[in-house]
Amino acid sequence: MSAEAENTPTQKVAIGISFGNSYSSIAFTTGDGKAEVIANEDGDRQIPSILSYVEGEELHGSQAKSQLIRNSKNTVAYFRDFLGQEFKSIDPSPCHQSAHPIQHESTISFKIRDSEEEKENDVTVSEITTRHLKRIRDSASDYLGKKVNAAVITVPTNFTEAQKAALSQAAKDADIEVLQFINEPVSAVLAYDARPDAKIADKIVVVADLGGTRSDVAVVASRGGIYTVLATLHDYEVSGFKLDQVLIDHFAKEFIKKHKSAGDPRENDRSLAKMKLECEAVKKALSIGTTANFSVESLANGIDFTATINRSRYELLASKIFAAFARLVTHAVEKAELDPLDITEVILAGGNSHTPRIASAVGNAFPETTTVLAPSTSPTAINPSELSVRGAAIQASLIQEFDVEDIEQSTHPMVTVVPHLSHAVGVLCISGDESHGIFHPIVDAETSLPVRRSAIISTPREGGDVLIKLAEGAGHIKVTKPEPKPKKEANEDDEDDSDEDDSEEEEEELRERTWKIGKILSEAAIRGVKKGGKVEVQINIAADLSVNAIFREVGAKGGVRGILSSSKVTQNGSA
């Protein structure tokens, strides 16, 4: 009867969770494959990762955040990075204005009054995480009308196995089965690539995440939808808190100027907490409007304080931090041994990426060919706060049908560690001669193997016999000083040229990305190409580096097939 169909004992309802130090968010994927971020009961899509206890009542999210002023001792905040860590290796500074972390056996706990009794309990960080995830799960369940029991959770790239295990356990205690942990930057790339109009291309993406307590930058190679992280960089100094601090200092000085007798509001814990909350709001307001109001009642000594700030003032104050962030991004590119010219896209993630100045500061570090995806630079950009959670939701919808073993096997190093091409493989155009020919890549460097690509190449106008030379190419940055006369390859589009902001050279110089022709791999000939005809080249590179290439005229049958056996095989053959 109908029961059989419904009888699936535990139908998996999976969501994506982005669990950050400051904010968490949840998303699910609709039937047509679009990720949607879920708002909690308070209507927040960005749910502060804060829990507060008032007389045994648990407050969560923005309700808990407002408790930071009155009830800071029983409010737990910014605890994500403590999970699975030892006390000696954590940085407690973000928790200065909330419950302080203390050592508890081998983990970390908080001393808070979480029951109606008049005594303080030691609550471990994993217990706090469980409670937080439970609240989040309840919000998602309420929204979806189905009990959520599984999730894909995003973590920073430097999350250790121990931290993942602790998070997995905490999630399990909250009745959430963790299908997979995925890295935040990759999740952000996935969120962009999963848009229906997105084209899967070979590109190198920098994901810069400016969060509340930390900043992470990752350089990700995306090759036909397969992602490889080339380099990551983490910074705990350049953070959203620093931006808040700049505003706090500014308004504190203004306040002292007006009310000399009242004293410095930064010296009073409660005043400082009030300023911090208000400054965060001001910062957000300045991302949208050009002016914002700062207004706190009874800031210090019972004096109310109101002030206005405009965006340019704020940008001036915080310029150092913006510059530091841009520097961080360029450092990550350097760490990946790449040049800003190699970067196709910069994705700005994290709440602070709403700030227009950050987008422009980062944009200035890259040539004009690089797209910066942030709300202020691109109208189609996805909300940077929601990037990683959207990616997680998409991944959750992709794998929720799978068994746990299936997922485990698929994420096993056996499957994930693959050879990547060290050089690009492409053809020589215009001239077969190495000194005159122009290399055009078909398969880019850092592409995971095996790979299959095809290319359609123009032929000389009059057709005839053509030579197809497959070669390896290495990316190369050509620096052209304007004074000496430009070299020969200036016939390329000027679009590739751009001036560099970050380089300290005083005179402007032209930098462009060219290819250095490396080893010639093979030569092939197609005879009698029709006038205006095109040639199709299909390259299959196997994991053992053997190349299988097919050359044919578009529309024609047959063609030339060539095989380059892998170096290993040849050695075996000769031995």
Binding site: M1, S2, E6, I182, N183, V186, L190, I200, A201, V220, G225, I226, Y227, T228, V229, Q395, L398, Q409, S410, T411, V415, T416, V418, P419, L421, S422, V425, C429, G432, G437, H440, I442, E446, S448, P450, R452, R453, S454, A455, I457, S458, T459, P460, V466, L467, L521, S522, E523, A524, A525, R527, L545, V547, V560, R561, I563, L564, S566, S567, T570
Partner: protein, 445 residues
């Protein structure tokens, strides 16, 4: 597969270039770097699939395509395979009320679960097969009766209201409740589960709770029976109505039939409700779990009672023990006191005797000391005074002093020494203030 468009023209083949089959391998690729790819996104899943099943790109493409195609085929096959009963094909369209619409369309196995899509498909399939024109073309008769049956069945099943009416009286979907005997073989849950599933199709409240099995918890079982005792059914019996005459001539007759139908419906509905109630009663009576829960509850209650009683018993025993202990202690104390008393008496007597003896010794000593007379026989007066004095001493001293005195006197035969001892004693007594000086005249020397 990604395709790269290259707009730069290829070089012209140099003169005299030649290669075997127009291809000349020159060198190999340089070594690759091993890197970790991120296990994220649809393209990675495809990669994982290829890697784990060791497929090449084109193999994987083909297998994926096949997998997608197969699904469609499966669906179709499942629906076609129902054979047609020759008796069914002989049906008259007039008699549509009694026909099994699902069987006519060949979806008897789905019955009330058939989706609209399935019904439409089934209809199309049957039409293609039984269209009268086709039959005529094949040289058959002009018989379109079964075709009309098909049309009627589709008409009923595609109209949600009519379909519900038909489903209400669809006897083929009924599951007869098992007899008591059948359930005794231990397949209570299997047999009754089917019954409830079939009855559940009439429920306005979905999903219908399941009977469960012997491991179901008490709240689950309770919720189940609560649901069935408060069953909200959409079942109705219009389908069995007598045909209402459609002529305008006899209004009364029409109304009469209508009223009759109304009453019949109501009656049937009541009967159905009673039937269902009895069915649930029967199931409840046979349900082992109810008994089990009752026993458990009983056991729980008994256990509590036993515990209480045991506690009381233990307290009583403890009290009795304490009492006994107290009594024993009391007894012991009394016995000890008694013994002590007896002992005291004896000692007193002994002391008395000893004192008597001592007195005798003392008095004897006086005699030995010749009544303190210096020489020769003592005169009577001396004897009297000496004896008086000694008696005086004896009365003045207690038993212990008497015993020491006796000790000193014992064995002394020399009158002088004895006299000396007595005099010492008198001196001591005078010193202690028990005797007045000169009271024992005979010893005051």
């Amino acid at each position: 597969m990604a395709t790269v468009q290259i707009n730069l023209p290829l070089p012209v083949l140099p003169e005299g270039w030649a290669g075997e089959k127009d291809f000349k391998p020159i060198s190999q690729l340089s070594a690759a770097n091993d890197r970790n790819i991120e296990p994220v996104g649809p393209h990675f899943l495809a990669h994982a699939r290829r890697k784990r099943h060791k497929r090449t790109f084109s193999e994987d493409d083909r297998i994926q395509a096949q997998a997608n195609v197969k699904k469609v085929e499966d669906d179709d096959e499942g629906e076609i395979s129902e054979p047609e009963d020759p008796v069914l094909l002989q049906r008259e369209a007039k008699d549509w009320k009694n026909q099994d619409h699902y069987a006519v369309l060949g979806i008897a196995r789905y019955r009330h679960r058939a989706t609209e899509e399935q019904i439409k498909k089934a209809h199309r399939r049957k039409v293609l097969k039984h269209h009268p024109d086709k039959k005529a073309a094949a040289g058959g008769t002009e018989d379109d009766q079964f075709f009309k049956c098909i049309q009627k069945a589709t008409e009923v099943l595609l109209d949600p209201v009519k379909r519900r009416q038909f489903d209400s009286v669809d006897e083929a979907a009924e599951v007869e409740p098992p007899t008591k005997k059948e359930t005794q073989k231990g397949n209570f849950y299997k047999l009754w589960g089917k019954v409830f599933e079939s009855e559940g199709r009439f429920s306005n409240n979905q999903p219908v709770p399941k009977l469960g099995n012997e491991k179901s918890t008490k709240p689950e079982v309770e919720a189940f029976y609560n649901f069935w005792y408060n069953f909200d059914s959409w079942r109705s019996f219009e389908y069995l109505d007598e045909d209402v005459p459609d002529d305008n001539e006899n209004r009364d007759q029409k109304r009469h039939v209508e009223r009759k139908n109304q009453n019949a419906r109501r009656k049937k509905k009541t009967e159905d409700t009673t039937r269902l109630r009895k069915l649930v009663d029967d199931a409840l009576a046979l349900d082992e779990r109810i008994k089990k829960f009752r026993q458990e509850e009983h056991a729980q209650k008994n256990k509590r009672r036993f515990e209480k009683e045991a506690e009381q018993k233990r307290l009583a025993e403890e009290a009795a023990k304490a009492k006994e202990e107290a009594a024993r202690l009391q007894q012991e104390k009394e016995a000890a006191e008694k013994a002590e008393k007896a002992e005291g008496k004896k000692a007193k007597e002994a002391a008395k005797n000893a004192a008597k003896k001592n007195k005798r010794v003392v008095r004897g000593a006086v005699k030995d000391a010749n009544y303190f007379h210096a020489g020769g026989d003592a005169p009577a007066a001396q004897i009297d005074s000496a004896l008086n004095d000694v008696d005086l001493i004896i009365t003045k001293i207690d038993n212990e002093e008497l015993a020491t005195l006796t000790g000193k006197l014992n064995g002394q035969k020399d009158g002088g020494v004895i006299t000396q001892i007595f005099q010492d004693e008198v001196k001591r007594l005078v010193g202690a203030g028990k005797l007045k000086d000169g009271e024992a005249k005979s010893l005051s020397a």
